[in-house]
């Protein structure tokens, strides 16, 4: 009886999770007491600061690296090189340097902290309405409906609008779903780990200004540090010059390596802006003439000048997600969503329910979410063990031997500057180019290729999602709850071995069959 009560309680919580996004931030208990702001219940995987005014992606480590690199290099420049240069040449040099530095910092912070153009998820009524329309159109009542697309003709070109299962909307043209942030972003360009945010409609111009001004700043510092060393070495000799200002060596090294990638990136984005394309479209070759004679970009305004002005000086749309607004709990709603969604949701709740029966009844929502995640991982393990090239949901990364959920594998798509050194970015793109291109629901083979171009600079990024499976602790009852983070990876690997012997394996296979048929 006790189990029956707690079962129904858990079931109630699980069904709530299954109809929502992957990481719901909402707890059913808190809503009634105090007025919440909308950012607190935001369903995407973003982090908010300053009461919702600042919005960033979840993993911001690389952003801090960017900030440190810029601040340290400029700090060294102003401290060690500028006094000499101001005296020997002209005091205008530190002034220009200062202006450039402030501009770079301002645009970087603006890019990182602003809303890239996130499209809010559909309300339940909208989702139900769309489902009804699609059911009418299809007439099919399969376990999962076929992939949903809508075709629109834009300026003579046929464009396919895809349905986003997470956000439950038909994505507007040029929008894409960022799997790292778990949001649909309007005019999605790419997800940039270096700025710690997606780059989309609302912050593309800031991003472009950032990389452009950073190119100038890098070249500026590089040139004047070299000048400084040369002038000193005229007086005292080369080695003495280096000894007198050791910081200059560090600056030269940093600037030398940055110049290639950043200047190349600026050039690439200048090309994109002038042809009014996004990184996403360029990489997929959506408007390339190679696809067909009649294939052209329907969004282009015709000439380069207009395209540039539109991208950089056009109107800035406001944020659609209203982070600082208060949650309205009294809006009238119609019936809950029907059919396709709840059936899929029921599967999930069944599976997590299976696990919950074996676990201790400490059922708070976080553990339920983690159990569900764990089920999905475990269910997909037999598949991975059979065929390592299967790109269904998981992709194995070369660094770790473990399995990762799809989203974490994509961060290794690399930072913006994921090129091998010394190669400027060609406009005809390769998959290794992008920071992180948008994906549809599943990662594509192109991403697993980018993993192989590992790069010393990418190590910090690799470490970041090496942590990801460890962030998902094993469900209680399976392994000891008190296991420290460091052990959980190996313990998970150990668990996978056990799974093959358990009846759990049968359950996970059953679960996998359901998932794969979905």
């Amino acid at each position: 009886m006790h189990l029956g009560v707690s079962e129904s309680m858990r079931e109630c919580e699980y069904s709530q999770i299954s109809t929502r996004s992957s990481t719901p931030m909402e707890t059913p208990y808190k809503k009634k007491t105090s007025k919440k702001r909308k950012w607190e219940i935001f369903p995407g995987r973003n982090k908010f600061y300053c009461g919702g005014r600042i919005m960033m992606a979840k993993q911001t480590g690389v952003f801090y690296l960017t900030l440190v690199l810029i601040l340290v290099t400029c700090g060294l420049f102003f401290t060690f090189d500028c006094p000499f240069l101001a005296l020997q040449l002209t005091p205008v040099i530190p002034v220009i340097g200062g202006v450039l530095f402030l501009f770079v910092l301002g645009t970087l912070l603006r890019t990182s902290f602003s809303d890239p153009g996130v499209l809010p998820r559909a309300t339940p009524d909208e989702a139900a309405d769309l489902e009804r329309q699609i059911d009418v159109a299809n007439g099919s009542t399969g376990y999962r409906p076929p992939p949903r697309t809508k075709e629109v003709v834009i300026n003579g070109q046929t464009v396919k609008l895809k349905y986003c299962f997470t956000c439950k909307i038909f994505r507007p043209p040029r929008a894409s779903h960022c799997s790292l942030c778990d949001n649909c972003v309007d005019r999605f360009d790419h997800h940039c780990p270096w700025v710690g945010n997606c780059v989309g409609k609302r912050n593309y111009r800031f991003f472009y200004m950032f990389i452009l001004s950073l190119s100038f700043l890098t070249i500026f510092i590089f040139a004047f540090v070299i000048t400084h060393i040369i002038l000193r070495s005229h007086r005292n000799g080369f080695l003495n010059a280096l000894k007198d200002s050791p910081a200059s060596v560090l600056e030269v090294v940093v600037c030398f390596f940055s110049v290639w990638s950043i200047v190349g990136l600026s050039g690439f984005h200048t090309y994109l802006i002038s042809s009014n394309q996004t990184t996403n479209e360029d990489i997929k070759g959506s408007w390339s003439s190679k696809r067909g004679k009649d294939n052209y970009n329907p969004y282009s305004h015709g000439n380069i000048f207009t395209n540039c002005c539109a991208a950089l000086c056009g109107p800035l749309p406001p944020s659609l997600i209203d982070r600082r607004g208060f949650v309205q709990s009294d809006t009238p709603q119609l019936a809950p969503p029907t059919n396709g969604i709840t059936m899929y949701g029921a599967t999930q709740s069944q599976q997590s329910h299976m696990f919950s029966m074996e676990s201790k009844p400490i059922c708070d929502q976080d553990q339920c979410i983690q159990s569900t995640k764990f089920v999905l991982q475990a269910a997909a393990t037999p598949l991975l063990q059979q065929q390592s090239s299967e790109p269904v949901i998981l992709t194995a990364s070369p660094e770790n031997g473990g399995t990762l959920p799809g989203r974490s594998a994509l961060t290794l798509g690399g930072p913006c500057t994921s090129l091998p050194l010394g190669q400027p970015t060609p406009p005809t793109s390769t998959p290794s180019l992008s920071c992180h291109e948008a994906t549809d629901m599943l990662p594509i083979h192109g991403h697993s290729h980018t993993h192989n171009h590992s790069h010393p600079l990418q190590e910090p990024v690799a470490h970041h999602h090496f942590l990801t499976p460890e962030e998902v602790p094993s469900p209680p009852g399976m392994l000891h709850c008190g296991s420290p983070m460091g052990h959980s990876h190996t313990m998970q690997a150990g668990f996978y071995n056990l799974a093959s012997q358990d009846s759990l394996h049968e359950d996970s296979v059953r679960g996998l069959v359901k998932l794969s048929s979905v």
């Binding site: 402030l102 501009f103 301002g106 645009t107 603006r110 499209l119 809010p120 559909a122 309300t123 009524d125 909208e126 309405d129 629109v152 003709v153 834009i154 300026n155 464009v159 609008l161 909307i169 507007p172 043209p173 040029r174 309007d186 005019r187 111009r205 800031f206 200004m209 329907p298 969004y299 207009t306 002005c309 539109a310 950089l312 000086c313 056009g314 109107p315 800035l316 749309p317 406001p318 659609l320 997600i321 209203d322 009238p332 709603q333 119609l334």
Partner: protein, 158 residues
């Protein structure tokens, strides 16, 4: 004016929601914000086609004005870039000004045209500019100023 507003409040609280009708975006001219001019069949006996068509057309023209790329937007963009975008902290952008105009227009339309017919238009900005949501109410209240009675008076006034 006071009675009309009174109707709107009463509509929200007394009347029960029957259904919501969504007018989707029209992407045939690109990514500019436009709503489809197609008249939804569920509203056939609730409102005249011309009225709804007029509302949608006016909204579309407002959005086109907000997103227009021309002299003023360039000036605003260049000024903002020159001040390292700090000016956005003080100044309201043209887009935001037009959005305020749109909210006012929708409020006015609701009061004058839609509430008397038991309908309510939600500002698209609250739905992420994806849809134009029209809530269809059916009044169950026994109060004097019920939408059904005003609807009949509205139709008789025609």
């Amino acid at each position: 004016m006071a009675t009309e507003f009174h109707n709107l409040q009463e509509l929200r609280h007394n009347a029960s929601l029957v259904t919501k009708v969504f007018i989707q975006r029209d992407y045939s001219e690109g990514t500019v914000c436009r709503f489809q001019a197609k008249f939804p069949s569920e509203l056939d006996n609730r409102i005249e086609r011309t009225l709804l068509g007029e509302t949608v057309r006016t909204l579309n023209s407002y959005y086109a004005e907000a997103e227009k790329i021309g002299g003023q937007s360039y000036l605003e963009g260049c000024l903002a870039c020159a001040t390292a975008y700090i000016i956005f902290l003080c100044m309201e952008t043209r887009y935001e000004k037009v959005l305020r105009k749109i909210s006012g227009y929708i409020q006015e339309q609701n009061e004058k045209i839609y509430a008397p017919r038991g309908l309510l238009i939600t500002d698209p900005i609250e739905r992420g500019m994806r849809v134009l949501e029209i809530s269809v109410f059916e009044d169950r209240g026994s109060g004097g100023s019920s939408p059904s009675s005003t609807m009949s008076s509205g139709s008789s006034a025609r």
